[in-house]
């Protein structure tokens, strides 16, 4: 289980790194799917099989399909890749990468000091999750359903083709 955690974690970091450096949107999307699938394996090794299944179905399945649909709708071709190449000059990487490296090192240092103990000693299955979700967190489920409804209406409204101006 430990080996699976390390391998999946390394693949997740590597494919995310490849994702943020790709010029073609479809290639980046495929690397993002790989990253999400390896995070699902990490969830499984941490003793959270229900969330691992949901990560595959909802994240790597539904949300990524939405991205692929939009990329296909926009019909990006070689022109978009050339444009990306002109935007992504090497100098652009310096500032954000420095900031993020400082942040990551700081986080790692803090975690190395404070976080202790072993994760994933016991498996927390779907039954426990469901009992917590529909027990003390019931109000959260209601709020999430309202959020999803709001997202649906907003996506419908924004995705509509604007009507011709009547003047």
């Amino acid at each position: 289980m430990q080996a699976a955690f390390y391998i999946a974690g390394a693949i997740a970091v590597l494919s995310t790194l490849l994702m943020i450096t790709r010029l073609n949107a479809v290639h980046a999307l495929l690397y993002l799917v790989v990253s999400l699938l390896s995070v699902a394996i990490v969830f499984y090794t941490l003793g959270a099989p229900f969330v691992a299944a949901l990560e595959v179905i909802v994240y790597a399945g539904a949300i990524m399909v939405l991205f692929v649909f939009v990329v296909m709708l926009l019909n990006l071709g070689d022109r978009a890749t050339a444009l990306e190449r002109s935007w992504l000059t090497p100098g652009m990487w310096i500032g954000p990468s420095t900031l993020a490296v400082v942040l990551a090192v700081e986080l790692a240092w803090l975690l190395g000091r404070s976080a202790s103990g072993a994760a994933g000693e016991t498996v927390v299955g779907p039954k426990e999750v469901a009992l917590a979700l529909y027990g003390p967190y019931l109000i959260g489920v209601e709020l999430a359903s309202m959020l999803l409804l709001g997202g649906l209406i907003a996506a419908y409204h924004l995705g509509r083709r604007a009507p011709e101006k009547a003047e």
Binding site: G9, T16, L32, I63, V71, E84, P96, V101, G120
Partner: protein, 102 residues
């Protein structure tokens, strides 16, 4: 089942978060910015699941489900905005939309 140490799980989450942050700051294409936001949300969820699994409680997984619902609605609105942006400016450059016109 050999357990994983909690610090390493949180370390993975912080690295993924930092990578998503770099992507968000560097890219100018709105689709890539949305994808980086997905990575960051996923990393935050991973931190929750690691913490929940450290104490063998389902709460971390419950919060991950909420993050999942939030990410789904955020992506649907965000991608609709991307379509509108492409329709209005014929470009996916985030800098094109730096000025708000009523």
């Amino acid at each position: 089942m050999l357990p994983v140490s909690m610090g390493q799980g949180l370390l993975l989450a912080s690295f993924l978060f930092a990578l998503g942050l770099v992507g968000l700051l560097v890219r100018r294409n709105v689709i890539f910015m949305l994808m980086s936001i997905e990575v960051m949300l996923n990393a935050a969820g991973l931190a929750f699941v690691v913490a929940g699994s450290r104490w063998s409680q389902p709460d971390g997984q419950v919060v991950f489900l909420f993050i999942l619902a939030m990410a789904a609605s955020e992506v649907s609105v965000g991608l609709a905005l991307v379509l509108q942006l492409n329709r209005q400016f014929k470009s996916l450059d985030a800098d094109e939309a730096s000025v708000m016109r009523g």
